[in-house]
Symmetry: C2
Subunit: 108 residues, 2 copies
DNA sequence: TGTCATATATATAAATCGCTTATATAGTTG
DNA sequence: CAACTATATAAGCGATTTATATATATGACA
């Protein structure tokens, strides 16, 4: 079926506007989509490792005075490309859903 | 992380406008998203079984003169509810993606 | 008319991959 | 000192991939 996993996309989306550390990514997803939508820590840290191996994200230096435990990540160019492509794919899905009357906002 | 699998959503979407049989669902996804996006038969038929068990879809009588091999499915009310809810969730993701400049169409 | 390749159609098994759940560890804040 | 912040790993499970099996229908071509 191709395509990244939903968790991978959520992480790319969380990192699209600014660098964040793992726990901060969880919090961003919670704020955006509700507490129930947030991934478990187990899933998140495994996904971060996998995505780093796949060169979608990279570690970045922490700002001065930052919590020493934190590891900050940002998108690579490849990661941004993948995020954009997946966003387009999802936008097309939403268009199809609207066309099939699965969304309130009318038929167009 | 909650939520249905991407394949489950594709199937719900394919059945949203009309009843289809398994192979027809694959063809609908191919037309809508390109040949590369279509699921393997293995994934599809297993997903159909699972979704029937979960009462998201149900078998429906084939029309007269239809290929006897075909098994037609349609959405249940529950299936439609799930499809609508997931469509809303995806539409919100797309809004967030646009806000974070992952989609060409401008910042709004 | 026959027959051959391709498309249609459903199904199952083994292996792999990613998420859930559980657990561990430890520093920080109120 | 409890709750929150923060990262990490292991066992188990569920879903997809890949491969395989089976069989009918269709279209081309000789």
């Amino acid at each position: 079926m191709a395509g990244m996993t939903p968790l991978t996309y959520e992480i790319l989306l969380a990192l699209a506007d600014e660098s964040r550390h793992g726990y901060g990514i969880i919090k961003e997803i919670e704020e955006r989509s509700g507490a129930g939508a947030a991934p478990s820590t187990g899933a998140l840290y495994l996904a971060l490792q996998r995505m780093q191996t796949d060169a979608l994200i990279e570690e970045t230096a922490a700002g001065p005075g930052a919590d020493a435990r934190r590891k900050y990540y940002r998108l690579t160019l490849k990661g941004r490309d993948h995020a954009e492509a997946e966003s387009v794919r999802l936008a097309e899905l939403v268009v199809a859903a609207r066309r099939k009357n699965l969304l309130a906002g009318g038929a167009s």
